[in-house]
């Protein structure tokens, strides 16, 4: 089930928040194979987070069908650390819930914090962390769960270019090593191209997938390589066109 088959499939999915509200998602179709890394781009407010919420069963679709074959986890766009737990304990909570052996938890949490360059932040409370640090703890927490599908909602938005580069490499290495499926929502077109095997462009009002690019630039890709830049430029033009359609 790891190497072949469908991780999840969405067919004709629609979503509106209340009967008299407009459709946010309308007839959305998406099929992702196990082990794929798919980037999703789209205008602000087009429904990316809504889609991820539905995929992780936090919200229900209004109609359509959804098959999810693997356990999912989600890195939220907003601040999502538990304020009553330190950074390390936030990660340990994820380990605990996923039945990680009690004795090894602390060590594992520390490892994960080091992975996101926060080795010394174990005992810091969320309110003592900077925006980017919180985001990185959330990433570490998601990785702690070792779910087969990882949904990431603009996870690197608050990180500087260098830390982001570094985490790109870590993410790709984890992905290659474990064969998990990753859906990566971002506003950074280069980032989408840097990471994705496919890049999907979402339209807004209503949200559905407009276009898809298969990225066949071999790893190790570099975000500032000409190949990435070039594809990014093409996609940006499409994005601009799509957004200007709506004003």
């Amino acid at each position: 089930m790891n190497n072949a088959g469908i991780a999840f499939e969405v067919r004709d999915l629609t979503k509106h928040f209340g009967p008299n509200e407009p459709l946010i998602l309308d007839g959305l179709n998406l099929s992702v194979r196990n082990g794929e890394l798919v980037s999703i781009l789209g205008a602000s407010g087009c429904g990316k987070s809504t889609l991820l919420n539905i995929l992780s069963d936090l919200d229900s679709a209004s109609s359509g069908s959804l098959v999810v074959n693997e356990k999912t986890t989600l890195i939220f766009q907003e601040q999502s650390l538990m304020p009553w737990l330190s950074a390390g304990k936030n990660i340990e909570l994820a380990l605990l819930i996923n039945k990680y052996p009690k004795k090894l938890r602390r060590k594992r949490a520390q490892e994960l914090l080091e992975l996101v360059h926060l080795g010394s932040a174990y005992d810091k409370r969320p309110h003592e962390l900077s925006g980017g640090m919180k985001q990185r703890v959330a990433i570490a927490r998601a990785l702690a769960q070792e779910k087969k599908i990882l949904l990431m909602d603009e996870p690197f938005a608050a990180l500087d270019a260098i830390t982001r580069d570094f985490l790109h490499e870590e993410l790709i290495s984890i992905w290659q090593r474990t064969g998990i499926t990753i859906i990566f929502v971002t506003h950074n077109v280069r980032e989408a191209v840097r990471l994705g095997q496919r890049v999907l462009l979402m339209s807004s009002k209503p949200g559905r997938f407009l276009k898809e690019w298969v990225v066949d630039i071999p790893e190790p890709r570099r975000i500032d390589s000409p190949a990435v830049s070039q594809l990014a430029r093409v996609i940006t033009d499409d994005l601009r066109e799509e957004i200007s359609r709506h004003g």
Binding site: L13, P19, E70, H127
Partner: protein, 285 residues
Amino acid sequence: MDNSNIDLSKFSAGLDALESGTSRKRNKFASLLNFVAPVLAVILVILIWQIAVYLKFKPDYILPTPSQVWASLQNQWNQGLLWHSATNSLRRGVQGFLIAIVIATPIGLALGLNKMARAIFRPILTGLQQLPSVAWVPASIIWFGLSNATIYAVVLLGAVPSIANGLISGIDQIPRIYLKVGKVLGAKRLVSIRHIVLPAAWPGYLSGLEQGWAFAWRSLMAAELIAVSPALGPGLGQMLDTGRQLGDMSLVLAAIFVIMLVGVLIERVFFAPIRNRTLRNRGLG
């Protein structure tokens, strides 16, 4: 979730608390439920009670039948006492509570926002909250004699500390970002209180108000025992006490029933809508 086909038209029922509550249909159902369910609860209670009576579990002077209690209620009604007592108590309770809010809110704000004032006066406030209403009766009588002022004094001393403490802990729980935004927006003291502190503390304050109402209402029941006098008029507390004095359990239960009823009514008519609206508005419904 492995290999499972998630049915999208339903939402997993277990995580009610998580729902975003945006669906109107669900809301309609919820509000219907909110009105039908309490009735259900009452029917349930009466059923269990009636069964206990049938089993002759305790003699009827200890556990009267629903119909005996009903007869007591009717009897009180016929004497004109029930309506008079209930409206009297309700009026006093509501008035006392409103006055308590007016007094408690500035106190809560002052102690909530000023650490020094809080360190000095909060222990007094907490101390006052610990005192049973009956402790206030002698002093109130000496000060205010046989007037409604005595009753209000007892009610206020019961409710004010509770409401003020509720507001203080509401203020304590305000996420700091809102106060920071207020400062960055340049809000001065009063504007900040009106437009930032109070709304931000509102959910916690509201739950303090509900507790405060219970304190007020219970204190009122104690205060109404002070005397039977034309200046004071009858009240539900008096009705309860009469039942006790006469050893008349069906009158006691009738009084308990009416006291609960009025309390629940206040909750339904006053607090529940405010609470639901507050939660819904903030995406917590």
